[in-house]
């Protein structure tokens, strides 16, 4: 194990890790927004758009991110739509994550008893207020474990970004292996980098899961 080599190349990994985190966070935030939109459309049974949303969810859940990225990055420019690597990565991650988030939110919303909505409405709350004060808080508390699992899943999925010419952690590791043949060192640092990113996320997720006060009213 060549520790000098490792020390020398830490900045490369840090830079790559920052890129991964940056794109990952953007993708995850957008996924949550897309997920909420999709689930609201399905919850309120908006005609037509609802069908589109379910087609989107099936398409995105049943195809790998790598293939989605290849299509976005190499396929779309032939239709005249040129997207940069970064944008492509974020769009791809959002396309994938949106449906996973939507499914988690949906199971949360479904867990809220119908009687809750009915009681809220009979108390004189408007539909929007019933959603805001009664349904959402209960739904969120049920769906948080699944959302945390999705966040970790999406961070893991960012490892394929090197396929669309982004200098992420996998790219740096492969580069160092190719350039210097320092396989063990490059891989060790790769593993450590991902542990540094993912371990706190995973520990925080299980902490959140334990601390959460699950809504169990009206059941």
């Amino acid at each position: 194990m060549d520790f000098e080599f490792i020390l020398k190349h830490i900045p490369m990994y840090t830079e790559a890790a920052i890129l991964t985190i940056k794109l990952g966070v953007m993708g995850i935030l957008l996924s949550i927004i897309v997920g909420i939109l999709c689930v609201l459309i399905q919850y309120y049974k908006v005609p037509i758009i609802r069908r589109i949303v379910s087609v989107y969810i099936e398409l995105s859940r049943n195809t790998p991110l790598l293939v989605q990225l290849f299509f976005l990055y190499f396929g779309l420019p032939k239709m005249g739509i040129k997207i940069s690597s970064e944008a492509c990565a974020v769009i791809g991650l959002t396309f994938l994550g949106g449906s996973y988030m939507a499914e988690s939110f949906r199971s949360g919303l479904e867990s809220v008893d119908k009687i809750q909505t009915e009681s809220a409405l009979s108390l004189g709350l408007t539909k929007a207020k019933a959603m805001r004060y009664v349904i959402l808080p209960q739904a969120l508390s049920t769906s948080i474990p699944a959302i945390c699992a999705n966040v970790i899943f999406l961070i893991k999925e960012t490892s394929v970004f090197s396929a669309v010419a982004l200098a992420d952690l996998m790219f740096v590791a492969k580069d160092l292996i190719g350039l210097y043949y320092k396989t063990d060192e490059a891989l060790l640092m790769l593993v450590i980098s991902y542990l540094i990113i993912l371990l706190p996320a995973s520990i925080f997720a299980s902490y959140l899961e334990r601390r959460l006060r699950y809504a169990g009213f009206g059941n």
């Binding site: 790998p64 790598l66 293939v67 396929g75 032939k78 960012t158 891989l187 993912l198």
Partner: protein, 226 residues
Amino acid sequence: MQDLGIKVLFMGSNFERLLDGLWVTIHISILSVLLSILLGILLGIVMTSKNIVVKAVTRVYLEFVRIMPQLVLLFIVYFGVTKTFGLHLNGETSALIVFTIWGTAEMGDLVRSAIISIPKHQRESGLAIGLNSSQIYRYIIIPQTLIRLIPPAINLTTRMIKTTSLIVLIGVVEVLKVGQQIIEANRYTVPNATLWIYGTIFFLYFFTCWPISLLAKFLEKKWKVN
């Protein structure tokens, strides 16, 4: 130009070649899933043990494998293990090893949670009505475990198929690689082949995984009543 691109699919044996490439992916997934189910059942049973060492070891294995991106695991085996031990593993073998290690961890966790989710009184009631221990397993424990296990195990299969798309990055010639070859070969005659080929691959994956997902969803709903 748009209508020109699709013809690339039907030139020569391009479409069959894509399907052959897809088969490589599916083949590796199926083998890994079968191995994972066998090993995962063993692991799951081992994980219900109360021995602290066994618990710690399986826990570390599970957490590490689940927290690492599968691509990192592929790199470790494909580049790391081959160099450290001087073995020559080709991409397919590395993929099979990695997906079995990963699938075993996932499957083991599913089996463990299915086993511990069966209430104790089920076994006790079985004893009380005079069943012997093999009858309890045969008629009470195993059927209930299977019902809880099969839908998530089917879902694991689709995840395995989707994850297997990564093997193109360690140089296995599968559907994406075949697609790239077709695109390269037709670079001048069909410049927008990229769109059609990658679009086709997208839908090939979709039509492979979708029926399996539907089956899992159907079984989940059907068995929920119990």
